[in-house]
């Protein structure tokens, strides 16, 4: 059994140590937020926070997490009580299919924790690891600016 600090709770999980964190979150714990997109660290659909840093959970073995705190999009707010980044995405209607969006929100949260007032270039650079195929990018950028309180 492995102890996981996840979204403000302590969970114990039975997956093998080499299981990528993504499958522990989705398959063993039944969370939906982190998505499988590539399993290769190329798309960011699986992005979660380890403490305050964004990581690709698809290439992060469970055994490497240790006592760092894992935060998924579920840990940032709920439908009834959305967090600040989620609220901004809702206000900007920043989703088409939305499959990439949980990863975008988590990566934006990491950026804003480190840099509360990011520049436009800084936002674009920070989000670069995450892909969106629907072309929702311009709305995602608006949502991140809104969450930061830095309208363009």
């Amino acid at each position: 059994m492995t102890t996981l600090h996840l979204n403000g709770a302590v969970r114990s999980v039975s997956s093998a140590q080499d299981t990528p964190l993504l499958y522990v979150l989705r398959d063993e714990l039944g969370l939906n937020g982190a998505k499988f997109g590539c399993g290769l660290g190329q798309c960011g659909a699986c992005t979660v926070l380890l403490d305050d840093r964004p990581i690709f959970s698809c290439v992060t073995p469970l055994g490497s997490v240790g006592d760092r705190v894992v935060t998924t999009v579920e840990g940032l707010g709920t439908e009834a009580a959305p967090g600040r980044v989620q609220k901004a995405f809702e206000a900007e209607q920043a989703a088409q299919c939305g499959y990439c969006i949980a990863g975008m929100i988590v990566r934006a949260e990491a950026l804003l924790r480190k840099t509360p007032k990011p520049s436009e270039r800084g936002i674009r650079a920070a989000l670069a690891p995450n892909l969106c195929r629907c072309g929702t990018h311009m709305r995602i950028l608006r949502a991140v600016r809104r969450a930061a309180g830095t309208p363009a």
Binding site: V73, F89, Q96, G98, C100, R124, R133, G135
Partner: protein, 730 residues
């Protein structure tokens, strides 16, 4: 290469062959028309209770055979229904594409949903509202004309009112819709409002929003074992070793079809990876140069426009190409299937649950009525990607492990390697100009492989091709005009006095292809709108003015003028390395009008293109949800810029080589335009028109025109990569 049949013409020569086109060639697979006088898909399914039911508790359920693909369909359909029923949005529930519950509306594609389903539901809702009024009139012995509705109630002038739920017991919806019922007085309803999308909140908070998140009790995980790409086969794999791996429940093998089933997802993946390590061999021949192959392959040639007249003196010609493009969904294809008591249920993100049911029934050998296909959202698909194949995979595996729901998800390399691509294409255009600088004659020839191999038959599913004996895929056929496939948007909207357009349909497909968002329109509009700019240059006229001078359609003028105005076309100042580009099209010449203007800067040393402002204007008739329309057009533009600047599928003698996002790069944030603005021209008295694919062509051409404006060099071969721009600049 197969010998050409007698219908085929080698090499697009002088002989023109016309051939019969059946409705099924569109791949829409809809039932027959019963009531031609009704709007949209009421024509095939006129009964009201197929579309709307009113419960005694006041809940109203709307049924659509179309599916939410991330395009905002659910919200738009609810807006239309609530508006016409005169009931609050939150009193409505919506059931989407499900062969067990909803009308058969074929495939959700081609920007058709509003015309097919929206128009049907609007009319059905008007009928239901009127029947509710008549039910109240009977109760009160009043004249229906004296009654009104509001907020889900029928009201009399004396102040009496009855909620719709109270009227439900006296309501008979097992009747056909009538074409004209007294409509509700216009205005005040949700149509035309920026109603927030109903599906978005769950997607932002990790709710169960996708088929990928669906976990019925007892579910097991399956993974497919295939060669590296379509047109390859895997050699002998060590199945016995895999059966002994932890968590593995079954290895399902039927002919070349091979899958592993495990209790845990990671366990299934580990078993799959072990099997997949077996060597593979190629089973197909792939030409090195697909564009010259296209020009010489056996083709069916159809002249789709032949308008005779005079030729002008000054002539120009140009050839354009597009590579194979990938749908590239961010979420690999997924399906869940369960076989129980002789019946099979398949949860799928296919765009066409009804045609898919036919194909799956054939695949597993069940009568279609024993198979139920239920749509659940997946990641955006942008056409016929791996969704149907994954459903076929899950169905076949589920039959082998009866009782347990089986979840299949493709791996990234499988999605990249096996999905049907958007066809590579070639277009050759020529024209002549009058002495006054007007187009006198125009000619457009376009070569393409098919744009639809959507399955209605097991032979079009990967699993159907892999089982032993394999099912045969029917030969691909062109999609008839006015929608068209490879010839979609090949007929110019411009009023050229002499014009000839021919479609060279190549039935063979060395790489697997099918419908990709906008089909041939991306390429044809890219070619037409690039060439129009080349002609404007030859005529020494401003490209916007040149376009307007050749268009008689006032709505076309309005979108062009709107885009030029908000871009600031007139006042735009040239500076070194910067360029501006304009393009316009009416999607399929019958759906939304869209104009795009953009500016960019070219880095002289590297050829890199930096996108500045992008401005668009769109007219899709009555705007149901203007923000939804903006969202779709913004997305179409950004996606098309990615296709047109970066994307091309590669292959070698052994396989397709674009197996992940490093081998098939798409646009990332740092390369995005500075801004994308969309202006929606609302036409409240016009029918609503499909919009989802309208931006694809104009965005590509505006890009090419701006690159030409910035560099003085015309690039005609997509994608317009930095290497090509650099090489052109010398």
């Amino acid at each position: 290469m197969r010998a050409p049949s007698r219908r085929l013409v080698v090499g697009g020569g002088a002989l023109t062959v016309f051939f019969a086109l059946s409705v099924s060639a569109t791949g829409q697979g809809k039932p027959t028309v019963k009531a031609p006088e009704l709007p949209g898909d009421l024509r095939t399914q006129p009964r009201l209770d197929a579309w709307i039911r009113v419960g005694a508790d006041g809940r109203i359920t709307i049924f659509t055979g179309k599916a939410e693909l991330g395009q905002g369909l659910k919200t738009a359909i609810l807006q239309i229904a609530a508006d016409e029923l005169d009931a609050p949005l939150d009193q409505l529930d919506l059931v989407t594409a499900d062969t067990g519950l909803t009308p058969n509306e074929g495939v959700t594609a081609g920007s058709h949903s509003m015309q097919d389903s929206g128009a049907a539901i609007r009319n059905a809702a008007a009928n239901v509202r009127w029947l509710l009024i008549e039910a109240a009139a009977r109760r009160w012995s009043a004249e229906p004309q004296s009654l009104a509705t509001g907020h889900g109630t029928v009201r009399a002038s004396d102040g009496r009112s009855l909620a719709y739920g109270e009227l439900a017991s006296g309501l008979d919806l097992s009747v056909d819709a009538r074409p004209a019922v007294p409509p509700r007085p216009r205005g005040g309803g949700p149509i035309g409002q920026d109603v927030p999308r109903v599906d978005i909140p769950a997607k932002l908070a990790g709710g169960q929003a996708y088929i990928q998140d669906f976990r019925p009790p007892g579910m097991v995980h399956a993974r497919l074992v295939r060669g590296p790409s379509y047109g390859t086969a895997l050699g002998e794999a060590d199945i016995a070793a895999v059966r002994a791996m932890p968590g593995v429940i079954a290895v399902v093998q039927k002919g070349r079809f091979l899958a592993v089933v495990a209790e845990g997802e990671w366990q299934a993946i580990q078993a799959q990876q072990r099997l997949q390590a077996a060597p593979s061999r190629s089973t197909a021949t792939r030409p090195d140069d697909i564009h010259s192959w296209l020009l010489s392959a056996p083709a069916q040639v159809e002249v789709i426009l032949d308008r005779g007249g005079a030729e002008g003196a000054r002539t120009a010609s140009a050839a354009y190409t597009r590579p194979y493009l990938m749908h590239g969904s961010i979420g690999p294809s997924c399906a869940v299937a369960q076989a129980k008591h002789g019946e099979l249920t398949v949860w799928t993100h296919s765009q066409g649950v009804f045609p898919l049911r036919k194909a799956i029934a054939q695949l597993v050998g069940l009568p279609p009525e024993k198979v139920r296909c239920r749509h659940m959202e997946g990641a955006g698909c942008y056409g016929h990607n791996g969704a149907d194949d994954a459903a076929g995979d899950a169905a076949l595996i589920a039959m082998a492990v009866p009782g347990r729901p089986v979840r299949v998800q493709w791996m990234r390399d499988q999605e990249h390697g096996w999905e049907p691509l958007g066809s590579a294409m070639v277009a050759r255009l020529s024209a002549s100009l009058t002495p006054e600088g007007r187009v006198a004659s125009w000619r457009h020839d376009v070569w393409s492989m098919t744009h639809s191999t959507r399955p209605q038959e097991a032979g079009r599913l990967l699993a159907g091709q892999e089982v032993d004996p394999p099912f045969q895929a029917p030969p691909p056929r062109p999609i008839p005009m006015p929608e068209g496939g490879g010839d979609r948007n090949a007929i110019p909207l411009y009023a050229f006095p002499t014009a000839r357009v021919a479609y060279h349909f190549v039935p063979e497909m060395p790489l697997r292809v099918s419908a990709l968002r906008s089909l041939g329109a991306h390429m044809n509009v890219f070619s037409i709108e690039s060439f129009v700019d080349e002609l404007a240059l030859l005529a020494d006229e401003d490209p916007v003015a040149f376009r307007l001078a050749h268009l008689d359609d006032s709505r076309a003028h309005d979108v062009i003028n709107a885009a030029a105005r908000s871009f600031g076309w007139q006042a735009w100042r040239r500076s070194h390395g910067r360029g501006r580009g304009f393009a316009f099209a009416r999607y399929k010449n019958l759906a939304a009008y869209c104009a795009v203007a953009l500016e960019l800067e070219v880095e002289p040393v590297t050829g890199e293109v930096w996108l500045g402002r992008v401005v668009s204007a769109v007219d899709c008739g009555q705007a149901i949800n203007p923000d939804g329309i903006r969202n779709q057009i913004e997305g179409a533009i950004v996606q098309s810029l990615s296709w047109s600047m970066l994307e091309q599928v590669g292959w070698d003698a052994d396989r397709r080589t674009s197996f992940d996002w490093s081998a098939y790069p798409i646009l990332r944030f740092p390369a995005l335009p500075q801004s994308v603005e969309v202006e929606v021209i609302d036409r409240p008295t016009e029918p609503f028109l499909g919009v989802g694919e309208a931006g694809q062509g104009p965005a590509a051409a505006a890009l090419a025109n701006a690159v030409a404006d910035a560099t003085g060099k015309r690039l005609r071969d997509l994608p317009l990569t930095a290497e090509k721009v650099k090489a052109a600049m010398g």
